[in-house]
């Protein structure tokens, strides 16, 4: 019996030792810019030595793969992508950073508020890539994150195979009213505000924001009266194409456009009072591969990288040096969003943030109106 105890103790100790020594090499030193500019050659060399980086993002994974593969092709540095839906991604990132578990090297998220939160917590490293100036200042967090993955806007999309020309015209004229029009009863699908801040802001604007007068809760109730089905983002567009319903409310153009290009029988229109936002991407503080991460940001801010991203997602290029020659623009139905009327500032709107918080009133009320059990 004693021998068993001894064996067990040794085994336990050995495994603990193995596990502990498994992966705790200290992180390499990041190359800091001197006089505002960074020594690219040194950075590239240091990055290549690190050999890989981990990218946390919530955009479509195939998109991210395709995009980052260009980086890999140029520098030979592997990009490991962790893709999770927005809030889950932030949860995980926050948890890891708080625990001192530095898994991410580059952090990218669609929800601006989360990114600002991350900056506040000192989880994002201070780093200004060379191409920083090419991006609009209001959409960047200077020194921390940049909209290298462009922006996206909420649309109302529809399946052209299932609608007559007259119906389509009706939708294009006033998509929100059309979604609430009784003739479309049982043919509507909606995105839930719980799926992203932007979706929540979309509904909030109509119900309680500056759209309350023209639309208000009445408009939402009208949509609810059409017995819509509830799906979030990606499933929403898939089921639209499949024909589960004819109209999809609060579908982002970054999801719809690639499908259109791929030949799916759908089109979309931007409501007059829509919401939009830009992705935020930045280097993570205390990253395990700091130089590779910084090199990535350098690459991501170049016009070439942005052009590639634009091409894949068909979203409006944020880089001022990139010409907008997206294929989607040539589509007959396509009308660009009115940037002036797009609501970007929900991320700092105190009323909205309070109402849409976990203990706020907006979501329960939305659930109530739509009969969504959550």
């Amino acid at each position: 019996m004693k021998s068993i105890r001894r064996i067990a103790a040794v085994a336990a100790a050995a495994s603990v030792l193995a596990v502990v020594t498994a992966c705790s090499a200290p992180a390499p030193e990041a190359i800091e810019p001197t006089d505002g500019a960074v020594d690219m050659e040194a950075l590239i060399e240091a990055a290549k030595t690190e050999g890989e980086l981990t990218f946390y993002g919530d955009a479509n994974e195939t998109t991210l793969q395709t995009w980052t593969q260009a980086f890999t092709r140029e520098y030979g540095i592997t990009v490991n992508i962790l893709r999770l839906p927005g809030s889950q991604l932030f949860q995980r990132f926050a948890q890891e950073m708080s625990a001192g578990q530095y898994q991410a090297d580059v952090f990218s998220i669609a929800d601006r508020v989360s990114m600002e939160n991350a900056v506040e917590q000192d989880w994002i490293a201070e780093y200004t890539p060379a191409g920083a100036d090419l991006y609009p200042a209001e959409q960047s967090g200077a020194g921390y994150f940049y909209p290298v993955q462009n922006g996206y806007f909420q649309t109302v999309a529809y399946n052209t195979d299932l609608l007559s020309a007259a119906e389509i015209e009706l939708i294009r004229e006033d998509p929100i009213a059309a979604a609430g029009d009784p003739q479309f009863e049982g043919r509507v699908g909606v995105n839930m505000p719980q799926s992203s801040q932007q979706a929540a802001a979309f509904y909030y604007r109509l119900a309680e924001g500056d759209g309350a007068e023209d639309y208000g809760w009445d408009a939402l109730e009208a949509i609810a009266a059409n017995n819509p089905l509830f799906y979030s983002s990606a499933t929403l567009v898939q089921n639209l194409i499949a024909g589960e319903y004819a109209i999809a409310v609060a579908l982002t153009d970054s999801l719809a456009a690639p499908q259109v290009i791929g030949g799916a029988p759908i089109e979309f229109v931007y409501p007059e009072l829509t919401t939009g936002g830009y992705f935020a991407t930045g280097v993570v503080e205390n990253a395990q591969h700091p130089n590779a991460a910084r090199l990535f940001m350098e690459w991501a801010t170049t016009p070439e990288a942005n052009k590639l991203y634009t091409q894949v997602t068909q979203t409006v290029p944020a880089n001022s040096d990139v010409v907008d020659n997206r294929v989607i623009v040539d589509e007959d139905f396509y009308v660009s969003p009115q940037i002036d009327t797009v609501w970007f500032d929900f991320i700092t709107d105190a009323d909205f943030l309070e109402a849409s918080a976990a203990d706020g009133e907006f979501l329960p009320e939305w659930n109530d109106v739509f009969g969504y059990s959550g």
Partner: protein, 589 residues
């Protein structure tokens, strides 16, 4: 005056002191009973594997936000909201009701199938036996996806094509209804019920039924009056087992049923950690709520298993019940089985294949186009090879380690009775009571600061904990049938406990252990509940890759990966059949 000696817990009868020997007036010396070393080691391992994560879930429920996040404090908000308010009551009742319904139906159908396939000479028996188990080889969410594609009310293949074929506008099936969710869940739980009941039927003393025939009762009467009452404990055990599993399922209702009116608790747990605004303490609190109910279910399950063992007797010459020859209605039964196999096994796979080959979600046969785009996209995914390697690691390491630990647990429980045996027994059954995602969250919180976080190792640890109940059940069942005297003989010949275990017990247990291995190989390969929370980008197995595809709407890619996973599982089963010479069937359960 008598002296008393106690050795290893076996008290010998009092020995009268021989006359003339002076007896010391002090108290008799009793050798202290120490818990055996193996039991202690097992207890420690179970602590780390199971008790630790479960404890973390409970701790996590008493926080204001996720453990370790800045600004996290002790808070009773989540607990109060879950336990003291009525907010989650509909969800709780709905979940329990659904679980009970699914369990009852699964046992009903599984039991009938088991009886038909063990007692009646159904034509083409091996085909149906395989067909009923085949749904196990598919990740449940992939299967749910296939059924969504088949039977969504507006766009499902069945509805769309029947409409133009028959010229009507009707909706024929709606998989997104409560009935639809129950149906798909049934497809994945009937195999469990079938395996459990079929094992009891095979191990029954045949003379009990033969005596009924000799007394003039025919087949059906015998089945109802003798067979059914005797396997009833096994049926009850299967019922509770499936009910417990069904309370914790989230992938099927998650994929299918956002529109069923109530949200199963496990789906709520998943939402609480994933959907904005996320609230992990609620998830943990819900997890603890589920825990109490499923723990009760596990208790009832274990009681039934004990009763079942009381009734099962091995026949006079170890004979097994032979199949009865029946004319006439055996063909009808075969047709019924064929129908079921078609629904459960053939149809989903067919749909998945079609899905992999169409560029997007058109379900109308007239309008379908075919292309290899999805296949190409999946193959070109840079880390698909890495994911495949991860799946292989999981599929090989997890069952092996789980079976080893399960063997040790079974040994402690079956051979070394006493309090520690009982505790180990209960502890090792816990994981069935905890839904996969809840358990994984506990594991996550436990290992968050360790170097193995986000590696394959932590996924394996979670899976070992989650699957241990299965392994120890197989091992226990096998161990009970090995007579103690075989091991005792080895000890008399000088072999220590460890050597006896390796040279005598282990070889004799091989069939049971190999059966467990194969079952766990299938589970580890297709399991997503734990890996989705615990794996990092480099430790991601194929199942998580498929789940990610589903989440971002690339369901065709998900179909491709799902099919590929099935191929991997089949390859593993074939390998086991040929090289290890073990079958995945009920004879070793």
């Amino acid at each position: 005056m008598t002296l008393r000696f106690e050795t290893d817990g076996a008290a010998t009868s009092p020995v009268a002191a021989p006359p003339g020997v002076p007896l010391s007036p002090r108290r008799e010396r009793v050798a202290r009973k120490r818990p055996p070393a193996l039991a202690v080691v097992v207890f420690i391992i179970l602590g780390g594997l199971i008790a630790g994560p479960v404890a973390m879930v409970f701790i996590g429920a008493f926080q204001s936000t996720s453990l370790g996040l800045p600004g996290n404090t002790l808070s009773f908000d989540a607990i109060l909201r879950v336990y003291a308010s009525t907010e989650y009551l509909p969800s709780l009742f709905g979940t329990l009701g659904m679980a009970v319904l699914v369990a009852a139906l699964a046992v009903f159908f599984g039991g009938i199938f088991a009886w038909l396939l063990t007692r009646i000479n159904i034509p083409l028996r091996p085909v149906w036996e395989l067909g009923i188990i085949v749904p196990l080889f598919l990740s449940p969410f992939i299967g749910a996806l296939a059924w969504l594609m088949l039977a969504a009310p507006n766009s499902g293949m069945i509805n769309v094509n029947l409409r133009w074929l028959l010229g009507t506008d009707q909706t024929f099936v709606d998989i997104r209804s409560f009935g639809g969710v129950v149906f798909v869940m049934l497809l994945y739980y009937i195999p469990y019920a079938y395996l459990l009941v079929s094992s009891a039927l095979k191990n029954m003393d045949p003379s009990l039924e033969e005596a009924s025939y000799m007394n003039g009762r025919g087949r059906i009467e015998t089945a109802l009056k003798v067979t059914l009452p005797i396997v009833r404990p096994a049926l009850t055990a299967a019922f509770f087992f499936v009910a417990v599993l069904a309370t914790g399922v989230f992938v099927v209702p998650g994929v299918l049923g956002l529109n069923t009116g109530f949200s199963p608790l496990a789906v709520e747990v998943y939402r609480s950690v994933t959907v904005f605004p996320s609230n992990p303490p609620i998830g943990a609190a819900l997890g603890t709520l589920l825990f109490w109910f499923t723990l009760g279910g596990v208790y009832l399950y274990r009681r039934s298993v004990r009763n079942a063992n009381r009734f099962v007797t091995v026949g006079a010459r170890g004979t097994r019940p032979r199949v009865i020859k029946v004319r006439g209605w055996r063909h009808v039964a075969a047709v019924g089985l064929a129908l079921y196999v078609l629904l459960a096994a053939v149809l989903p796979y067919a749909v998945l294949i079609v899905m992999s080959l169409t560029p997007y979600a058109i379900t109308d046969f007239r309008k379908m186009e075919f292309s290899f785009q999805s296949l190409i996209e999946v193959i070109n995914t840079p880390d698909v090879l890495n994911s495949f390697a991860n799946t292989l690691w999981l599929g090989v390491l997890t069952p092996t380690l789980t079976v080893l630990v399960g063997l040790c647990v079974a040994y402690v429980v079956v051979r070394q009775r006493g309090r520690i045996g009982a505790v180990v027994d209960y502890l090792s059954t816990f994981p069935i009571a905890v839904p996969g995602i809840v358990f994984a969250t506990g594991v996550l919180w436990l290992y968050l600061r360790s170097p193995i976080y986000a590696t394959l190792a932590v996924v394996i640890i979670a899976l070992i904990g989650a699957f241990l109940p299965h392994a120890s059940r197989f091992a226990s069942a096998g161990l009970i049938q090995i007579d103690k005297s075989l091991e005792e003989a080895a000890r008399m010949n000088g072999a220590g406990q460890l050597r006896t275990m390796f040279t005598i017990t282990f070889p004799l247990l091989k069939p049971a252990l190999l059966s467990a291995w194969i079952l766990l190989f299938v589970f580890s390969t297709r399991e997503v509940n734990e890996a989705v929370i615990l794996s990092g980008p480099r430790s991601r197995p194929l199942a998580v890759l498929a789940w990610n595809y589903v989440e971002q709407g690339s369901i065709r890619n998900a179909a491709v990966v799902g099919l590929f996973l099935t191929l991997v599982m089949i390859a593993g089963i074939v390998f086991a059949r040929i090289v290890l010479r073990t079958k995945l069937d009920s004879s070793n359960l």
